[in-house]
């Protein structure tokens, strides 16, 4: 029971790191980016290649995944994404689905359709007991990393100058740019960091979520659920939403494996009916 809770928390933390970038994209630019999972996949494959083929230690490949995918995001944002901010949502949906299809086929072409495995170092492989609760070392590691990341993100968002600029831009980008905040630059930075986090999440999650070319499609709905349920105005909203989702998913798959993700989708629809702006959203400044 507690083990399920623990696994669920680890899963939820992972989802949070994966999806937080999407929350910002949606909240800041109102851009429906269905291709967010593709960035996560890029991080996962990078780690797989680095640690399996090139012999880079797993721990060293994690920051590399972050940096590489963040750079990818920084390149794609001004070139491909920026022209579409003012377009209707239909265009954004089409565009990002297109990116997903390209990513899926491209990865399939380069690495084949089979599942990729990331070799974990020995000290992360074990399983031990704390007060009678079975705890996987790797899941503990994930919780630790994601917990630290969450605290850092929260601190950056509330304590730094960049954070207050970002919050201002999310609340009302027009007024923010009127106050001399370069919203484009703020967004570029945020997009890159968000993509980087997705890449890191993909690298961390390769072991738990499974990594194959259909990754962006399989987890698209999960990211969207996190954002839609958590709202896009805070960091705690998506965090709570991902924890809930993670625990519910793990528990659901354990107790009623036949139903699969069915419960999640039903809960999502119910939540969206009752609170279309998300469970934890505060009224936006707009």
């Amino acid at each position: 029971m507690l083990t399920i809770l623990f696994d669920g928390i680890a899963y939820g933390m992972l989802l949070f790191v994966l999806a937080v970038g999407l929350a910002v994209t949606l909240g800041l630019m109102n851009f429906v980016n269905l291709a967010h999972g593709a960035f996560a996949m890029a991080g996962g494959y990078l780690t797989a290649v680095l640690s399996n083929k090139l012999g880079v230690p797993f721990l060293a490949s994690l920051p590399l995944a972050f940096v590489f995918v963040a750079a990818l995001g920084a390149v794609l944002e001004p070139t491909l994404y920026r022209p579409l901010y003012r377009r209707p949502h239909l265009d954004q949906v089409l565009f990002s689905i297109g990116l997903v299809f390209i990513a899926v086929a491209g990865v399939d072409y380069a690495f084949g359709a089979q599942q990729q495995f990331v070799r974990l170092p020995a000290f992360l492989r074990g399983r031990f007991e704390i007060a009678g609760v079975g705890v996987g070392a790797y899941r503990l590691f994930i919780i630790a990393i994601c917990g630290v990341l969450t605290l850092v993100l929260q601190a950056v968002l509330t304590r730094t100058r960049f954070g207050s600029r970002l919050r201002a831009a999310v609340d009302d980008s027009r007024v923010a740019s009127g106050l001399g905040i370069d919203v484009n630059k703020v967004f570029l930075g945020t997009f890159a960091v968000g993509s980087g986090l997705a890449g890191l999440g993909g690298a961390l999650g390769a072991e738990i979520l499974g990594l194959d070319p259909t990754f962006p499609l399989k987890f698209m709905i999960y990211f969207l659920v996190v954002v839609a349920v958590g709202g896009t105005t805070t960091i705690t909203g998506p965090l709570l939403a991902s924890l809930l989702l993670g625990i519910a998913d793990v528990a659901g798959k354990y107790y009623v494996p036949k139903l699969g993700a069915f419960i999640i989708y039903c809960v999502m629809i119910v939540v969206l009916m009752i609170r279309p702006q998300g469970l934890f959203a505060r009224p936006a400044g707009r």
Binding site: F95, I102, A228, C266
Partner: protein
Amino acid sequence: MGTPGERSPDASLAGFARQPRVRAWEVALWTAALAAWFLLPRQSALLNEIAILALFAVSLDLILGYGGIVSLGHAAFFGTGAYVAALFAKHLLPDPLVGLVVAIAAAALLGAITSVLVLRGTDLTRLMVTLGVALILYELANRFDNITGGADGLRGVVMGPLLGLFAFDLGGRVAYLYSLSVLLVLFFVARRIVHSPFGYGLKAIRDNARRATAIGIGQNAQLAIVYTISTAYAGAAGALLAQTTGFASLDGYDFHRSADVLLVLVIGGVGWLYGGVIGAVVFTLLRDVLSTITPQYWQGLIGLVFVVFVLVGRDRLARGFRALLPARWRGEDAA
């Protein structure tokens, strides 16, 4: 629904109720579709696919182009129509027309129930909800594999002859004529709908919901009705596929299907019923060509088409299509 033209046959409103003439190029288009049956007998299976996809795209156009609802899960109703038609034929009655009606009714019922869900919220909420509905149905069909056949698909569906006279042949000759006739009938029903006062009310809501409400157009009722009609059409398309191939599978609910039909519609032009038809022709031919180039990776190339389409600007391309027509045939009101 408080559409003015329906209740008061006022002289000044009569123009709204008048149906536009069927133009020469429309006749030419449908004649060409029929001529294809005679001229390309070997391609009947492909033509059948085009007709079904066109019907599916027209169905999406009703809610996207006229209702302004972006749906990522329209396959939900396609798949439902397919399963209902296949199951009906397998267990109850193999007659295709009765099966078609039953499948349409089932999809419309499902659409009427879920229409409540798409009335609320923003674009994002609608995206998620429509996607969620399709995923739920996918999971259900997968779960109840004793009924649906699960991942293997529902096999052993034997269709009876059409009208009790024409048996479906392997080459798809009868199938194409059947699908084309259903498409033609449903298309002109849809054409009537979008040029009725109801259709004008929808366009008003799409363009400015608040103002439409202010002049007395009941938003929720209108959208719920068009959503239900659209899902009935999607169900019909699904049923046609299941009946003409004798097979229904989880593929009917697949995300690719919802995404592809969006592209089909966008290729041909949104908010224009012929957009779905033209898009279906272009898309199917494109896919045929791409999948002969790379049988495994053509989805990626389709993705590239998506991206290019958006970056170039879909309005510009759709206008380009129309610009190909002679000026006096063009006209915004041509369906």
